[in-house]
């Protein structure tokens, strides 16, 4: 999100040489495909993957850009196959839509590492590493609930700015949020869906603020669109509520640490998973296991926990912000 740093922070890659697995092994060609970056998080995914791959002398990294939709990504992957990679790391536009590609690649003997957006079919991937969208909603709701309890608000007005509504991950996040709130007897008073961009974030937030003249808490799914959400809050001159962010951008973490505005917390969904995916793909290509685990092979599924960053722990996370 920051202007200065297009390169990922060092902390988002694993330093090569940290453990025994880091020693150069057989040459591995990793093919990588992620949707075209149109906002910070996806851009960070691609950058992290690239940087992580560059840190290994035994990895050859080939990316294909995935274009605008699932169909374009399928077409791009088709050409990637022709390059005969050892492992494919793939952040699909939509897990279900690209499931058939995963299957055919696996059948052709190319292990597929699915990043973030799950294939429904277990045979379609060798490894799935993803964030916890539902858990994000849960964490955000838990923070909101705790604050409300602390303030003694029994029927809080809670707003939500979601991301692109047609994506399943948005649905999961919202579901985790509303499910958890419901357990505390709370509900979302108004939910607007933006499109992961700052300008749509601003517009939806402006509408939301108008619809809820008084609000207690607001959860915004994505810190990148949060720039616009915060701008709208400033423009409306509102400060009676607090806001929870999502994903964990550097700017958001800094703002939380400084405690200067309504943004009090953010729940992580870290693009660092891309770095991990590359490391593990390399191990799969070299037929190695994870050195901290007893197993001789990399596990089949890894789900990152969604952590809650607040003023208290912000300094720990600063290095992970994108």
């Amino acid at each position: 999100t920051s202007n200065e740093e297009d390169e990922p922070t060092g902390a988002q890659t694993v330093a090569a040489g940290g453990n025994a697995n880091a020693a150069p092994g057989t040459k591995v060609t990793i093919g990588f495909s992620a949707p075209a970056a149109d906002h910070g998080w996806i851009a960070a995914i691609t950058n992290n993957a690239k940087a992580q791959a560059a840190s290994y002398s035994d990895v050859e990294f080939k990316t294909v850009e995935a274009g605008a939709d699932a169909a374009a990504q399928r077409a791009a992957l088709q050409t990637l196959i022709a390059e005969k990679p050892n492992v494919i790391v793939l952040l699909p536009h939509d897990g279900k839509e690209l499931n058939s590609f995963g299957l055919s690649a696996m059948q052709a003997g190319i292990p597929v590492v699915n990043l973030d957006r799950a294939f429904p079919d277990a045979k379609a991937y060798r490894l799935q590493i993803k964030g916890d969208n539902y858990g994000m909603g849960v964490s955000a709701a838990n923070y909101v609930i705790a604050q409300m309890k602390a303030k003694g608000v029994s029927a809080p007005v809670i707003g939500e700015i979601a991301g692109m509504d047609e994506l399943e991950l948005t649905q999961e996040r919202s579901k985790g949020f509303s499910d958890t709130l419901a357990q505390a007897g709370f509900r979302v008073a108004n939910r607007r869906a933006a499109r992961f961009t700052a300008d749509t974030g601003q517009q939806e937030a402006a509408s939301l603020l108008q619809a809820l003249p008084k609000m207690d808490a607001l959860w915004n799914h994505d810190d990148d669109q949060g720039i616009g959400v915060l701008a709208a809050i400033t423009q409306a001159n509102r400060k009676e509520f607090f806001m929870v962010g999502g994903a964990g951008s550097k700017a958001a973490i800094e703002a939380i640490q400084a405690d200067s505005g309504v943004l009090k917390a953010t729940v992580t969904y870290s693009p660092s998973m891309a770095s991990s995916a590359i490391s593990l793909a390399r191990l799969i290509g070299q037929n190695k296991g994870m050195s901290d685990l007893v197993e001789l092979q990399v596990p089949k599924e890894i789900t990152l926990a969604s952590e809650t960053i607040t003023k208290e722990n912000a300094s720990n996370y600063l290095k992970l912000g994108f």
Binding site: D38, H39, N190, G228, T234
Partner: protein, 353 residues
Amino acid sequence: MTAQAAPAPVKEPEKPAEKRSWWRDDATEPLRRNLGLVAVLIALIIIGIITRPDLYSDGTWVRNNIFTILELASVIGVVTVGMTFVIIGGGIDLSVGAIIALAGVWSTTLATQDYGAGGMIFCALAVGIGVGVVNGILISYGRLVAFIATLAMLVAARGLAAQISGKQTQVSGNTFINDIAANDFLGVPLLVYILAAVVAGGWVLLNRTTFGRRTVAVGGNVEAARLAGINVKRHTLLLYALSGLCCGIAAIMLTSQANSAQAAMANLYELDAIAAAIIGGTLLSGGRGTIIGSLLGVIVFSTITNLFAINNLSTEVQNMVKGGIIVAAVLVQQVQFKSLSLFISRNKLTTSN
């Protein structure tokens, strides 16, 4: 002229009335369309009042809400003014959203931000006009179909914006720029003044200057315009430059609202602007349209959005309802149109007899 006994050919005083009736019909059509849009607006507000009486009972809230709607309309409104000119002039500009993104991104690079607010505004306007001129050259001198040329520009400009921004959201650190969206003057948001100024300027340009009248000629009958000695190519070029200029202004406004710019900003604004212009009575084939109609079209759309927000409709229901409202809005204009013209013609009959 009717209802007269045939064998009384003497004393036919309705001749002057009839002569006038030559041009009876069409002159007031834009006015009636606009009245139709106002009716739609009123209906939307009434729906708002019915569904959220709690909010609408608060005077301050209502006042704020009007400004919220206008602010929401401001960026698209500015773009639509330029678009209206282009469409009246017989063209179309699909690249407006992309131009906004490119202008916004370019004016928020660190290098540009170093020059301060003046530098940023200059950069946005220059980029807007520059891209508009390229569109214009491709279309008028390169003789490309406007749809294709501006579609190509859409793709290319977004690509360039992504390249420049490194696909990052570029935060604007300039308080002057950021304050445009945050501040009021005499209780009215600055963005609303900008919209008003652009609309007023557009109206004067279209209705009171040779440029505007020639735009109608070029779009309405290009051969006639050519035979009247108008430099059609140069005029076409200027139209796209004007649209680009509006996009430059809109880029500053949007950057100010979002405190940032990125390559994906102003996504699909082209569709919104074209739809607003057409709802406002601009003929897609050129030669006819009004600035006021376009403005009303934009406001109708942002009022719909506002109505959805205050009623907390889910996205999918929003979309279904929105489709219905658009159709209804156009139908209302037609009903309005028909019944009024019927009324007028009946009126005419009684007065002329």
